[in-house]
Amino acid sequence: MKASFFCTNSYLSAEPFRYPGWPTPPGLYRSEVGLKSVDVALEQARLADQLGFDWVSCSEHHYTPLLQTPNATVFAGALSQVVRRAKIAVLGPLVSMNNPVRIAEELAMLDQLSHGRLVVLFLRGTPNEFLAYGTNPDETRARTQEASILIQRALTEPEPFGWEGRFYRFRTVSVWPGPIQRPHPPMFYSGNSFESASFAAAHRLGLGVSFYPVNLVSQIMGYYKEECAKHGWEPSPDQLLYRAFIAVAEDDKEAEMLRSKYFAGDGVPNFFKGRGAAVPPPSAPVPSSVGTEADGRNTGADKGPRGFGLGELRFCGSPDTVVKQFAEFHERTGTGVIDISFGGAGLTMEETMKSIRLFGTEVIPRILDIGATRSAMKETRPTAAS
């Protein structure tokens, strides 16, 4: 299995996390804390690279101190200069609400800046985020699909071309620089629903599932593999990605102490409070056996206390325990890459750093052979990045 360090660039002061809703007022931002936050985030990324994480990731999110990366590609540009070995995973740009050609250009730049280490996932966004740029939530699924296809085309087409889509019109697309990796960097699609898994399979995209409990991940990954087979291909374990929260401690007792305060006062549930609760449910039907989607529908399917697992600490324990949890997760889902956030806002900086170090030194060496994909990864790692 591979491990990806989710670099959240969280704001390092509790004050704005206490604000009871979304968006967080900009007036709560303090420059000195912001500077310290980004310095710490980049230092964590550098450490993760040194500890042997296979990827270092970031994601676009808006108007929140929890993830100060409203433009993930800008942050990934900085990551590309401090992370010298691991892949730079943008998981991802919110393609439902941005200019897809601009995203393609930024991704190409990132592949150049990282010397061919870019990985990208096309993300739809959480319901509250559709308010950020005034995107109609009912259109976000279709916009995400079209934008993903357009980005893929823009990164591979050798001639200037025009695009007449349902949501996007461009008469001249001619991306420069082109990607370093050919035909394009590894691409994933956010797949927290069966429809999205089908789309990913049909377009030979990897699948990324986030926060769901293992039974739902197993359902979706299994369905995705079946769909891939229908389209005549088989995804590698490296194309099955899962994102979750983690806490690692010296022993299980200490880890449970971390669990008890992990999310305390953080902003995760706040995404869906205040204006963040304003997104009306779209009218299209959704599958009933899989939990909440990005648009906020079907919130009951996951039975978790905070909706579709966004506030769940999925992996927690001593190194031994976490290795077992990873092995079991892989066994049940086939997932080959786990993107993990150590960023519980209820933890101290020392607790977070200790958790990262313990994972790097005592877990990573013991998950290498799970799924036996690491040797393949070594073969494909660009020499220019080493």
């Binding site: 079209e146 296809i149 357009l150 085309r153 087409e157 050798p158 001639e159 200037p160 071309f161 025009g162 695009w163 007449e164 889509g165 349902r166 996007y168 008469r171 001249t172």
Partner: protein
């Protein structure tokens, strides 16, 4: 050569875009060629080998803005011919037919299997054509390797001679002419614009007539200038 108006209505759409196409005939070297005509404005000749002439929503929409002439290509309903001589002869015949009905200059729209005829016409009589549109064109294969034998090698070797501003439209889901084929036209024809229509197959005319019309009409009106967005984006003037 002369033209005969039979004054018969050839098609109607049920919606507000329906245009009444008149069925007419023109004699070319002893052969009677049937054509349909509707609309006013700058003339646009449409070459199509499939479907019922004049029945498409695209043609009806075009007839709201242009004078549309749809030739019933002799021997149509077949696939694209690899017989260079036969295709070229057809293009000559249709060019004389256009002359026979008094058209000196016009825009040319070739659809699917009729595109080789349009291409030969643009090569042999460039002075007659303002600009050319190729919809799901079937004159080249997608592959950049060996060309499959069904395609007209002579025509391919002449594409660089086309000086017209040309627009090529292809659906991203076209299973017959893969969308990547568009880049081959863009590489071969000096002033060629290549546009992909998202989520559409080979039957662009039937699947996405409105976007096809919007793009084609904009191109016919503005030619190279169609790449510039002139639509106001002011929300609150």
């Amino acid at each position: 050569m002369d033209s005969v108006d039979q004054m018969s209505s050839a098609s109607q759409d049920s919606d507000e875009t329906a245009a009444t196409f008149s069925e007419r005939f023109v004699q070319v070297d002893g052969t009677q060629i049937r054509y349909l005509e509707a609309g006013r404005g700058n003339p646009v000749i449409v070459l199509d080998t499939g479907g019922a002439l004049g029945q498409s929503r695209l043609c009806n929409l075009l007839a709201q803005q242009f004078r549309v002439i749809i030739f019933d290509i002799p021997g149509r309903k077949g696939s694209s011919s690899a017989d260079s001589t036969a295709t070229r002869d057809l293009s000559h015949m249709l060019a004389r037919g256009a002359g026979g009905i008094g058209l000196e200059r016009y825009a040319l729209v070739g659809i699917a299997a009729a595109t080789p005829i349009a291409l030969w016409h643009s090569i042999d009589a460039p002075a007659r054509i303002d600009s050319m549109v190729l919809v799901s064109p079937a004159a080249l294969s997608a592959s950049e390797g060996p060309i499959v034998t069904d395609f007209d090698h002579r025509l391919e070797s002449r594409l660089a001679d086309i000086k017209l501003t040309t627009l090529v439209l292809l659906g991203t889901k076209d299973q017959i002419v893969p969308p990547e084929t568009g880049r081959r036209y863009a590489q071969a024809i000096p002033k060629c614009y290549y546009v992909l229509v998202y989520d559409a197959g080979h039957g662009l005319e039937a699947e996405r007539p409105d976007v096809l019309f919007a793009t084609i009409s904009d191109f016919l009106e503005r030619r190279e200038g169609f790449v510039v967005n002139r639509k106001s984006t002011v929300l609150n003037p």
